[in-house]
Structures are given as C-alpha cells and as structure tokens.
Symmetry: C2
Subunit: 713 residues, 2 copies
C-alpha cells in the first residue's frame, strides 16, 4: 500500500494517529508536547471525525495530575483515551500510571520526551522523563523519527487494545517532535481496518457499566496483595505478542520491518551500539559509513522498551558481537549505570552469552546535538582494550574525565542531500518561512525533505537557526547541519558577531540580509569570515530586506523577501513555480489578516527575487587586517566576574556548546548564577535604535516601558 506523503513534524504525525484512535483526550499541554494536544483540540473543534465517525471529546484539566486522573476515569468507562505530555507533566502522572497499568486499562500516553528539571530547568529533549516511568507497568514504545511517530503511534493504540494494557509511546522532544520530514501518512480508513473490532468489543464489555457493575481499584491487605500483583505477569507476554503482531500488520501493509528490537548493520559485526530514539537514525548513517570503510559494526534499535524481552533482544544480537555500547539519553546520578545499560547488561548475562563486554554511556541531554563524530567515538571506544564505561559523548568532561574525544567528524549524510542553514532572530519570521519552504519542497517535488529549528528558550528575540535538508535519499541525519550548501544570515547584526559564514561548504552560497556592499563589509565582517569567504570560493549575495520590508510597510517582517531570495539562489524548483507556491503560502498564512498584508507579502516575494545582488569578493579578503580586540562586558561584582567572562560571554557568542564541565563546578553544577548579570547580556541585535526627539516629547513617560533598557533616555 502506498500512503500519501506529506511534510510534517513528529508531534503532528503522532497527533494525526492519536486523533483517529481516540474517543476522549484529557490534556494539559506542556512543551514540547503541546502541539499534539493543541492539534487534537483544534481538529475536534473543526469537527474532524475519528475512525468511528465521531469527533474526539477533549477535556483540558487543571494539571497533568488531573489529566492522568481523567484518563483513568475515562478509559475505565470504556472510552479509548489518550493524553500527551512531557517532563514534569509526565512525572505528575506517575501515581495514576501505576493504577492504570495495574487495572489493565488500555490508555495511551504520547510523550515528546523532555529533560526533567534538576540543577536547572530545560525545555529540551532527553529521556529522563520517560525513564522515571519505567517501573509503572506501562508498555513503552520508542519512535526514532517523525515517520516512526506516525507508524508506531498506530502500533501503540492497536497493541493497547489487543493486550488490554496501557502504552507510553515516546519520541525525542524537539529533535523528533519538532523535526519536519516528508513522511507517509495513514489514512483513517486504513487505520480503521487495522483496528480489531472483536478486541474493541471486549474492551467495551469490560468497561464500568451500571448494567453489569463491578468494583475496581479496591484496597487490599497483606494477605492477598502480593499474589494478586503476581497475577499480572502473563499480561506482559500478551503486550509483547500484541506489539509484535501490530507491527507485523503494519509491516505487511506498508512494507516496513518494525520489530520490538531491530538490528541494523553488518551481519557479522564485532561491535554494536544499543539505543532508543532519534540517535538511532544518526547511528544508522554512521554504521553505513564505517562498514563502507572496512569496519564491522551494527546497531540494535530498541523499540519496545517495556516489557523488556531479554531473549528477543539476545536473538537480535549477531553471534559475532564482542563489544556493546549502550547509549542512554538520561543521567541517573548515584546509580551504577543508566537504565538501558542495566537492562542490556543483565540480558547478556542472564541469557548466558559469553565473552561480551558491555559498557554504557550518556548522550544528548537537553537536546545536546548528537553528531556522527560522537557515534564514531563510541564505536572507537569499543576498540580499546578496556573501553571507558559510564562515558559521555557530546561534551568535554575535564573534571571526571568521562567524555570520549571526537577525533573526526566526517560527512555521513548521503552526497545527494542539499543542506541549508538560516540564522534568524526569534520572531522575525525566519522559522515560519522555512517551514513553508520545506513544505513547498516536500509537497511539490519528489524530493525527501527535513527541517529542524534550533532556538533557545528565550524564544522571541533569541537566535534561531533553521537546518534544512532535501534530496533523493532518505534523510536520517538527526543532527544539526554543520557545513551547508546554502547559508543565510537574516539579521545584519549577526554578521559581525557570530561565526556564520564558516558554516558554508567551499563553493557554496552565502546570503546576507544587509544594506552593505563589499567596501562596508570589509570593515564589518570579522577577519576570519572574510578569509573563509575568499579562500573557499563562497558565492556571497546580499539583499537589503530590512529596507524593502520597511518600504513595503511590513515593519521588521523580512521573511518573505529572504525566502524568495533563497528559492532564487538555491534553484531547487523552477523559480516561477517556487514563486507561485510562495504566493500560495502567503495567501494561506496571511489570508485572514486581510488583503493588504497578503499584497505586501506578495510584493515582498517579487522584491526578494529582483533586488538580490552578488557581492564581488575583494582579493584583499584573502589576507584581512586583524580584528580589533573585543572585550568581555565589565562587571563590578567580584563574584560574577568569572561567570561573566567564562560562561556568559561564551554562551552569548553561541559557543556555549564548547564550554567544558569545569566551567560549571564553581556554580554548583550550574544550579546557581550570580545575580545581576542579565544586564550584561547585551546582544545588540536590532538594526535600528530609537532616539528621543525633544520637540515631539509630551512627557508621557512611556519611553520607560517601550524601551526598558533606557536607550531612549
């Protein structure tokens, strides 16, 4: 069966399936799961019908604790019930999850896995939340990409009803929940056919019903509780069987090969990685790369994490494996090792597989980017006589020395994939425009497409970096674009601040939103940037989107202009078609804001196409004059000085990723910050500054809140 292809993110994919297979959704949206609940709510209000021809009843509760309670009450009454959550929200559901599992109720929780706040809160993604639920009795199913979020959501709902047990279906917050990919989409008729009516009838028959009343969730004393608790054992065999069978149904329909554990790589691998989530996509690329370079490596993708079927895991393991690295996207301080590592270690020993060395490592906490180089480092570690255990990748641990060094960072993305990178300013429309662009490319060409949007929790006003890829091969690169064919800098102020142009591949295209010509750029660009452009034959274009937008009445919304410039320069579609798709996107996006806004944006597209100029790179850039020395912001507070110079300045320069562990020791693992440092975090990102015109002043005093940093006064 061929499904319709559409470009969407993981949350949309999961919500699409959840809506189909849900009667009641009890919600309390939390980042990064919010859009799942929001889509369900929106579709219900629009009257979309689920596979039973009804709209979903959506109830928003007062907290995730309430949502879990409502799920419990609803599913016990015979309604197919779902919820959507992450992080602390999921933690609040834990007490009720034990009960839902103990009472064998097939609720489904979709989780875009997110960091649990510890020394600091983080909205970003890792598995610390779902791992805090591994003991509740819920089945746990992991999806590694937006496509899998679409496919395995169906498996979760179907296997829940088939086994009459609850499922927690999870995927990586942001990396999968917010990554857009062109994916195959279930139509609801197909989902209807996957659903077993007999099992559904059994579920309804079991529901609380005044016609055949039963009592559930009683209180038990010490005489019988233990025996009753053990009476659930065989249900976990049922869950495994139901999951495998739902996967088989799906595989048969769409030609996939989902299994509780999937092996990928050399059939006679000596070293393998075991992991869950989006890192598996990256690891597949690296496995291909290393095997193409004469190594013998592989990967076990854990999909059904609970119940953990040790014998099935061992059966998936090639007989030739000698070394296993288990990657956990969580940290459990004080434990002997992280959870997946403990499970793999125990399975290997229990099943009596001799002579295998198992080690465990942590990666990707709070959405730390996981590059191919980190995966290579993991495989290289396994070559050592004594592989490092409890290691970390992606950071430099210069305190407890647990990190593995990254020694190379090859390009493992297939060579036909074009990659693009856009630096924008939160709320300038760059991310939105790129979402439109990837949909245009994904939905109007036969190309594969991927977009990921990197931004920080400051949201509006922070730096945004859009990472776009498209081509013919499937795109598994679940990490940032590092070297791009096309790089755009959407904020003029960034040109002198960040290392942006260096992201462009030699011979690639660099587009700057600025009013400057070669001469002015010579004095503005850092020496390293100029040298990189000149040495690497970068084609440098500029468009003064700030001025165009202002002239058109668009204020600071430069997105349509820059999007048009991108399509013109990247040449992915015939430019006439691209322009028409952009105009259509403008009409869809801005239609309800009125004809004027639509007209202005359409004019912006024309301007973007026409007012693009190529900068002739002067020869002098090959040996540029050295930059003037920049100084760290001064602070009068002795206690803040080292934090400001060593940590804050690096973060502001977008080099926070490179800070080593030692940078956070003095601040008690980063849980403590010197006060009064926000004032030093001047980012100078505006392309204009207000000024006070004494003649116009009526002393309303509102300048104080229009411009709280007192530039006006």
């Amino acid at each position: 069966m061929t499904r319709k292809l559409k470009t969407m993110d993981g949350n949309t994919a999961a919500a699409h399936v959840a809506y189909a297979l849900t009667d009641v959704a009890a919600i309390y949206p939390i980042t990064p799961s919010s859009t799942m609940a929001e889509y369900i709510d929106k579709w219900a209000s629009e009257g979309r019908l689920n596979i039973f021809g009804q709209t979903v009843r959506v109830v928003e509760m007062q907290s995730e604790g309430g949502a879990a309670g409502a799920v419990h009450g609803s599913v016990i009454s015979g309604a197919l019930t779902s919820t959507f959550t992450a992080s602390q929200g999921l933690l609040l559901m834990i007490p009720t999850m034990y009960m839902i599992a103990g009472e064998q109720l097939p609720a489904v929780i979709h989780v875009s896995a997110r960091t649990v706040a510890s020394h600091a809160l983080s909205i970003f993604g890792d598995h610390s939340d779902v791992m805090a639920c591994r003991q509740t009795g819920f089945a746990m199913l992991a999806s590694n990409s937006p496509q899998e979020a679409m496919d395995l959501s169906a498996v979760a709902h179907i296997a829940a009803i088939d086994s009459s047990m609850p499922f927690l279906h999870f995927f990586d917050g942001f990396r999968t929940s917010h990554e857009m990919q062109k994916i195959g989409v279930w139509d609801y008729d197909t989902l209807r056919k996957l659903f077993d009516d007999e099992k559904l009838a059994r579920f309804h028959a079991r529901a609380n019903n005044p016609a055949h009343p039963v009592l559930r969730g009683s209180a038990q004393n010490g005489d019988i509780f233990f025996q009753a608790r053990e009476a659930i054992n065989s249900k976990y065999t049922d869950v495994y069987t139901a999951t495998e069978s739902a996967m088989d149904k799906v595989n048969k329909l769409i030609g996939t090969n989902y299994k509780p554990f999937n092996y990928y790589g050399s059939s006679n691998a000596d070293r393998i990685i075991v992991a869950m989530g989006s890192v598996c996509e990256t690891a597949e690329e690296v496995v291909d790369y290393l095997n193409a370079h004469g190594e013998k490596v592989g990967l076990i993708k854990v999909r059904l994490y609970r119940p953990w079927a040790a014998s099935s895991f061992i059966a998936t393991l090639p007989k030739t494996v000698k070394r296993i690295a288990v990657l956990d996207r969580t940290k459990e301080p004080g434990s002997v090792g992280e959870p997946l590592y403990l499970d793999v270690m125990t399975s290997v020993v229990e099943c009596g597989v001799p002579g295998i060395w198992v080690c465990g490592g942590r990666y990707g906490l709070a959405s730390k980017d996981v590059t191919p180089g980190q995966i290579i480092a993991t495989f290289d570690n396994l070559k050592l006589d004594f592989p490092k255990n409890s290691f970390t990748i992606g950071i430099t641990d210069d305190v407890t020395n647990l990190s593995l060094p990254v020694t190379k960072e090859p390009l493992t993305t297939p060579s036909d994939i074009i990659s693009c990178k856009f630096w924008g300013l939160g709320s300038d429309g760059t991310v939105g425009a790129n979402k439109n662009s990837i949909k245009i490319i994904g939905d109007h060409t036969d190309k594969t497409a991927q977009a990921y949007f990197q931004y920080d929790s400051r949201k509006s006003g922070g730096v945004t970096i859009s990472h776009l890829r498209f081509g013919s091969s499937p795109i598994k690169s679940a990490y940032y674009v590092s070297k791009a064919d096309f790089v755009a800098c959407h904020s003029p102020s960034y040109l002198e601040k960040y290392d942006i142009v260096q992201d462009t591949k030699p011979g690639g295209v660099f587009l700057a939103n600025c009013a400057w010509g070669a001469e002015e750029l010579t004095s503005i660009l850092p020496a390293a940037a100029k040298k990189y452009i000149a040495d690497n034959d970068i084609k440098f274009y500029a468009v003064d989107a700030v001025k165009i937008a202002k002239d058109l009445g668009l204020g600071n919304r430069t997105n349509s202009i820059l999007q048009a410039a991108f399509f013109k320069l990247s040449n992915i579609l015939p430019i006439e078609n691209a322009a028409e798709y952009m105009r259509q996107a403008v009409r869809d996006t801005y239609g309800r804001k009125g004809d004027d806004v639509v007209r202005m944006n359409i004019e912006a597209i024309e301007a973007g196409l026409n007012q693009l100029v190529e900068i002739n790179v002067p020869d002098s850039w090959k040996s540029p004059a050295p930059d003037a020395k920049t100084e760290s912001p001064a602070t009068s507070r002795a206690d803040a000085a080292s934090y400001v110079s060593e940590v804050m300045t690096q973060m502001n320069a977008m080099r926070g990723d490179k800070l080593p562990v030692s940078a956070f020791i003095a601040t008690e693992a980063g849980s403590l910050l010197p006060a009064g440092t926000a004032a030093l975090e001047k980012r100078a990102i505006n392309s204009e500054a207000p000024s006070w015109i004494p003649e116009n002043c009526i002393q309303c005093n509102r300048c104080a809140y229009v411009c709280p940093h007192s530039v006006v006064r």
Copy 2:
C-alpha cells in the same frame, strides 16, 4: 557511650532524631509515616527544643506535592528541613526531588516505605515507593530495625549537611515503622556534638540571602545543560565519604559497625543474600541457623543504596562466594529484573568478579510476612544447578510458577525468647494494652522486647493480632510469631471461627476471653482446636472479660482485664510489680478522661488477676466429634459465586495468605471485584446483638444508622 534504653517503634525513633536536627518540617502525614509528622508537630507544640535550642517550625501543606515544594523553599533559605512520607505521597514529591538534588540542598526525607497502589491500593509496606525515586539524585539510606531507624537517622542528617546533598532515609512501613523494640536512644547533647558546626556554617553561608543574592534553579538551553549536569558527579563521591564518616562517628560512640554495605555470616560463604530493610534481620537469624547446621552462607545488608558504590559492594563480598540471591521488596512489571538485582548484577560484572551466579527475587510486597523458611528456600534455590531467577517467596505462584516452595520452617529465634500472640478486635483496646505491656516489660526489666501489631486496613472492627517477644538475646525476628508460649483470644466469637489455639506451643498457655466452661467449649470449639489442646498439653485459661467490663461500667473495653490476666499467667515480672506498672499505665493513658475511668480500669486489673479460671481439658477432646459442615455464604449473583467461595471466604477465615496466584487471574489481577459482595462478608464478631423493645420505641428512626445492617428492624 551507653545510651538510655526505651521501648518505641521505628517512626518514633526516626522522629526523635529528625526533631533534634531540624529547623523546619513541612508535613503532610500519610500512612504509615503519619506518626513521624505527628510527633514532630506534637513536640513542637509542647515546646521541645532541637539541638540548637529552638522549637521546630512545622508547616502542614495541602498535599505532599506542596510539602516537597515547601521543603525546597525552606532548605534553600538555609533552614535544616525535613519531611516524612510514603507511597503516593512520596511519588508526588518526585519532581521537586530532582531539583533539590540538582541544586545540592541537604534536605532529609524520612520514608516508612509503603506499597504504591497498582491493581489495588494497599496501606502496607514494601519498597515500590522508594524505588520510584532512585533516579532523582537523592542519597538513599536504609534502616532495618527501629534501632537502626534511630541510629541511621542521625547518619542521614549529618551526612546531608556534610556533603551538602539530600537524603532519603527509609525503613519498612509497618514492619519497622510500627514495630516496637527496646532500643538505645540518642540524647540531644550527643547529637549536638555529632553535628559539624563548620559544615553548618557553610550551609548557612550558601543559603539564599538578600545580603549576597544569587539566582538558583535557572532555565538552561541545550548548549550548557549537559555539561552542568555532569558537573555534579563528584558530589556523589562526597555523599559516599560523608555517609561513611558519619557512620564511623556513630560507630565510635556507640560501638556499632554501620557501613555502606555490611556483611554478616560465614567468612567463607559460598552463597549469600543481598537485601535491604527488615528482611535483613530475619536473614541474619537464618544465616546463623544454617551456618550452625554446617552450611556456609552470608548476607550483605545494603544501607547506602544511592549512591551505589560498586567497588565497595564487591569489597564486602567474601572471595568464596559463588552464588548470590538478591531480594527486592518491589515489583517492576515488564522489567528484566527488579532494581537491586540489576545493580548487584551489574556491579559483579563491571568489577570483573568471575564465576558468580546472580539471581533475583521478589518478597514481602504489601507487608507479606517474610519467614525464616522463605529465606531458607532462597538459600536452597542457590544450591540448584540452575537457580530459579525472578523468583518469589512468601506466596504460591501456580500460574507463572515463579515461587520457591518453603520446605521447612524451623524456629530460628533464640531459645530464650518468650513469644506471645493476642487475637483482638480492632478498637477493643488489645493493641493499646499490648503496647503498654511491651513498654512495661521493656522499660522495667532488663529484657529485650519486641511487639508487632498485625491488622488490616478496616482498622476498627477488623481482626488484630499482636505479636510480642521478650527475652535476653537481641530480637531480630522481623516476622510474625507463629508458635507462641502464650496465646490469648480476646474475642469470644473468634474461638469457633479461626485457627487460634494452634498457635500455642506444646505445653504453652492459652487464654480465652469467654464466659464458657469446659462443657460449653466442647460444643463451641472446632474439633481441630480441641484435639490440639488435648494432644499438646495446652494450659487453657478463661476469664469472662466481657461481663466484668460491663459490670464495671467499661462497656466493651476489656483490655485492662485481659492484660492483667496475661501478666499473671506469663509470670514475666513479679505480679505485684506488674500490677503497679499497669496501674501507672492506666493513670497515664486515662488520666485526662477523669478519675472514674481510671478507677474502673484499676478495678479491671484486679478483676483480671482474680477472676481467671483454668479450664480442665476433658479427655474427650483427644478424639472430638467432627465439626458440622459450614457453608459459604450464598450469593444469587453468578458472576460473584467463585469470588465469594474461593477468595472472600478464605480471606474472612484469615486464610487469605494461603490463596495462590491463580485465585486472582479471573479478577484481572485482583483489580476487579464483583459488586455487592460486602453484604456477604458477615463476620459475626459481636458478643451481643441489639433487639427492638416495642414499648420503648419513640419512632425516632435512628436505629437505621445505629445499626445499618438492620438487625434491629
């Protein structure tokens, strides 16, 4: 140093220390931790001073979630802060616990570990709640007895301040929290000296303070979160060191030998058990017993569970060990094994100890009694060529066949220990009287003393069984008394219903509260009871406490009468002394209820001493007539029939412990009960029944709620 000895339960012991070392307690009492919080509240209201000469500030919050938040806020402000909780209450604290640990704040949570509700709620004890917190970053310290709850509470508070990290100190709900033992008590001056002023000053200096403001608990993005999270690693070495050093301080003072891991048993053991909590006490008895019978076994008592120090664990392991059974008091359905098992397994492999077979088992869920026979079964399992893994003890699993059979149940309590067992009716005063008795024995003799009170969650009106032991040897028997030197049946109706007299050792004393002589008893007692009495030379006494209490105006409060009879028959103290202590206890207990109540109870003591009669056991009891067949209560509901006959009837006969796992399969692991069966649970426990006197009736209609079961009407 010799400490004062006092008879108290584990909750009182922990609260005694917590009060001393606490500035602020944020509480929300929950069974079985309630009395800890209640004592703190009471002592504060009485003006008791902590070691700093202040009363503890107690704040009761709206839920455990609020209590955790208040703890967080209080400890961050530089107050030594504690809370007390269990089960779902502890689960509600989880989100905040991650933050308290991440921010390195030395709060202390005392937990009387309790079952988390799953298929059914249970108020009883196991480690499912604390195990749900093992990933939060808290240090976790286990106490195995009331004495250890006293001693290690001090270690928790001191090590928390020394390492500046939070501690979760736990002990078994009910089995330790409610078990009374005669124990050594810290005086507050000594605790003051254990407390390091320098560390305390450092804690105060770190606190949030407007004079040196800092920001804590910020939001971090993907650039730095991971590095900062790893910056905490060395704190867990600090926790280990601080715990070991606090234990050393304590050991030096009071001559104990507390270590993060304690070994007990043969120095060349081939088989050992690893466990935490009260089961270790029982296991010590069994280790002594088996080693005395030529086996070579041992036990590792895990005290510091988090951080888990693998190398320290391995160093504790005798070199001769070949087989390890790890006992977990929790069940994590769908996992490859329970948490302690995973930790031990991984430690053994990581530390490269060759040739050791590790298996894991579950025990004691919801306070299931753990007998020496079960521990012997665990050691015997290790003798098999292929020991059963993921086994259970204490139940019969006839479905998944994971249970180990108990083949013998020897008496492992030292022979000088006298044991007593009292069957009472919830609210008849039996438990209270026995608490007084054990205090009298413990505090007025040089005997060791232990009391445990078995009752169900119906509380008032249910069966209570008091298990008392006293003697010269230390009492480690953390399980029910099975064969007692003295058995009392405090409710006449029990004599024909339950197997009580069979609890008496041959030649022991049996006391019945009843108005019957030998002739009436012949027709009332079951055949098996009569035969047991006659065959085993049981000395059978009776006292009509119901009539005496009524005549004295005490209503149904028969406790003082029966307590006096116990002291007379058991002959532990000279009876004049015992009578005086009982009178003193009456004055203490009832003083505030007025002189009349005190007088009546003192008369009751006299009556109990004087009106005791010995029943001359007729020879005919050696070959009694068979009992009339009793029938299960009839139910007209087909769906309830098997539940009523197979489960409910057994539970009502106090034989629920013997029900196998298969009894709960049909009711979905016991999560579902047929409705309308409570009406069939007639227990016929009253010694009187009301009757309606038409002449007196003023048609007030209150009989409907005085007697809802409509006996009157």
